[in-house]
Amino acid sequence: MKRILINRIVQFLVILLIASFLLFAVTEFSPGNVAAKILGPYALDSQVRMLTGRLHLDDPLLTRYLRWLATLTGLLPNQLGGDATGLGLTDPRGAQYFGNFGFSLMQGRPIVDVLADRFAHTVTLAVWAIGLTIPISLALGVLAGTTAGSWIDRTITVITVTLTSLPEFVVSVALIFVFSASLGWLPGTSPLAQGDRWSEASQLVLPVAVLVIASSAYVTRIVRSSVVDTLARPFVRTARLKGLSPLRVTFFHVLRNALIAPITVILLQINWILTGVVVVEAIFAYPGIGRLMLEAALFGDLYLIQALTLISLTVAIATQFLGDLAYVLLDPRIRVA
């Protein structure tokens, strides 16, 4: 048990390190010169060259990767801040601290600050979406699983298959068309700007709805098939033969065992919502990290792309790790082994 855990943690760190170098190398290909981006299109060669030199952007790849890693972990001060570049970029935390991703070229602020509010917004979205997805999909999944083959099951199956087939952008467009463009009940965008006529809560409704529709349909199907499989297992038959009431059997015996698989799936959904909400955030102009990622990529904001990818990567690997862990802790067969 302990050995499995340590083994997993080591794997987690190794994968993170390899992946971070890969991502650093990949973003190298992103077009354009950082200095030219800061100075804008009309800068002359001489001006770009001068800034490139001051930012040490002409060093070899490995040197820059190691410097980036050292800056990130607070071992070295950031190159971009301070008076040397004359760009007026300042970081209230100083030039050297753990988690120093540098500055966003797009916004001219420390990336930590940029990330802080964007991340909070995405977490809000995720908490609502997961908070609604879990009860809805458990209820529907158990209902369908326990009544397998009946009309209830068939109806739920048809609906969930259809909903998992709908691309998020189609669901979003359809919801905007109905509730915003036609009925006017809800705002069609959710910029969360101050003093909006629409309350922040009303701006959350449609984006959350899209996420809930997409993930709960999928989780419902997993729960259903897990319940069906569990019901067919011998211990359930034994419990029934012992004369326990069907409800008791369902809640005390089946559910406990049937939920092992879905927990992993739910963790993966959390990962998906935290890292894959680009589409929903882009459509609703929601100020979260998904939209930030798209903006950064389109702008070519190199440091921001690196920071965001590293964070998404960490979240992704961490949720996978937690999923494995949950599996180990919950499944009695594995625990014994």
């Binding site: 992946a19 189609v170 467009v173 990529a297």
Partner: protein, 289 residues
């Protein structure tokens, strides 16, 4: 050279499966609906030049002022004045070219990796497995966004992106499948008969790992349709003026209040194909039982 016993068992298995396949294909309502939808779009894609009333890129300069559906343009035009029906018809061709190409490429790469991994085991297996883990760790959409903003939108870059994202998953599935039958009698028999690993992998094993992989193929095709649509939607799809369903949806989003048809018709087209793929996958799952 096979032992008669293994040959008979294999034969039986095939017959049973064929019967079940027939039952599923012809009796299951959802599968036949799915096949009909896919067949419909396939015909549309192939016969696009015959079916479409206009050239998909020709601009009707008068219609651009009012793109609503009319006698001349049954589904209306897009904001640029191009016939929407024709663009949806030609868009089917785009979808039916890019998506199968991407998925097949992912299955080719992932399948070979999985098979090699399972067959040789040891270091090969470990290296392929870890590489897959690293690739799976990257959030898919973010990888595409970086790839496509770096290298520009083109069909091959989309194919590359889909391959990178799906190949590790396919490899895992393939590995598991191969491991589960690697030690079955008929494979052992072929091995004993001195057949080389390539022969065994492709002639003996590949045909028998089929069903779960086919189900996976259908599901992934569905995802790929969504993905290609999503890239188009984010403005990272195929270069214009290639009709691209996702790109067509995004073109109309800002005009939903005035001209909802610009977005809604192509959205319906994407959805129908994805539903068909998922229904098919669902139906085919029956083969495993």
């Amino acid at each position: 050279m096979m032992t008669p016993l293994a040959g008979t068992a294999k034969h039986d298995r095939h017959r049973k499966r064929a019967r079940r396949l027939g039952r599923i294909l012809f009796r299951s309502g959802s599968v036949s609906v799915a096949l009909n939808i896919l067949l419909f779009w396939a015909v549309v894609a192939v016969a696009a030049p015959l079916l479409s009333p206009y050239d998909p890129t020709t601009i009707d300069f008068t219609a651009s002022l009012d793109p609503s559906p009319s006698a001349a343009h049954w589904l209306g035009t897009d904001a640029t004045g191009r016939d929407l029906l024709s663009r949806i018809i030609w868009g089917a061709r785009t979808t039916f070219l890019v998506v199968p190409l991407s998925v097949l490429s992912a299955f080719a790469v992932g399948g070979v990796a999985g098979m090699v991994s399972a067959w040789f085991g040891g270091w090969t297996d470990t290296i392929i497995g870890r590489a897959g883990d690293v690739m799976l760790a990257f959030p898919a959409l973010i990888v595409y966004i970086i790839l496509i903003t770096s290298f520009g939108p083109s069909m091959w870059n989309i194919v590359l992106a889909v391959t990178l994202a799906y190949a590790p998953g396919v490899a895992r599935l393939m590995r598991a499948q191969v491991l589960s039958i690697k030690s079955l009698e008929y494979v052992l028999a072929a091995r004993a008969a001195g057949e080389g690993p390539l022969y065994i992998m492709f002639v003996e094993i590949l045909p028998n790992v089929g069903t779960p992989l086919i189900v996976d193929l259908c599901l992934r095709t569905g995802y790929a349709v969504i993905l290609v649509g999503t890239l188009g939607f984010l403005g990272l799809g195929l270069p214009p003026p290639t009709p691209d369903w996702g790109g067509m949806v995004v073109e109309g989003v800002n005009l939903l209040t005035l001209y909802p048809h610009i977005s809604l018709f192509p959205a319906a087209a994407v959805t129908s194909v994805v539903i068909a793929c998922n229904l098919l996958a669902d139906g085919l799952r029956g083969l495993r039982r």
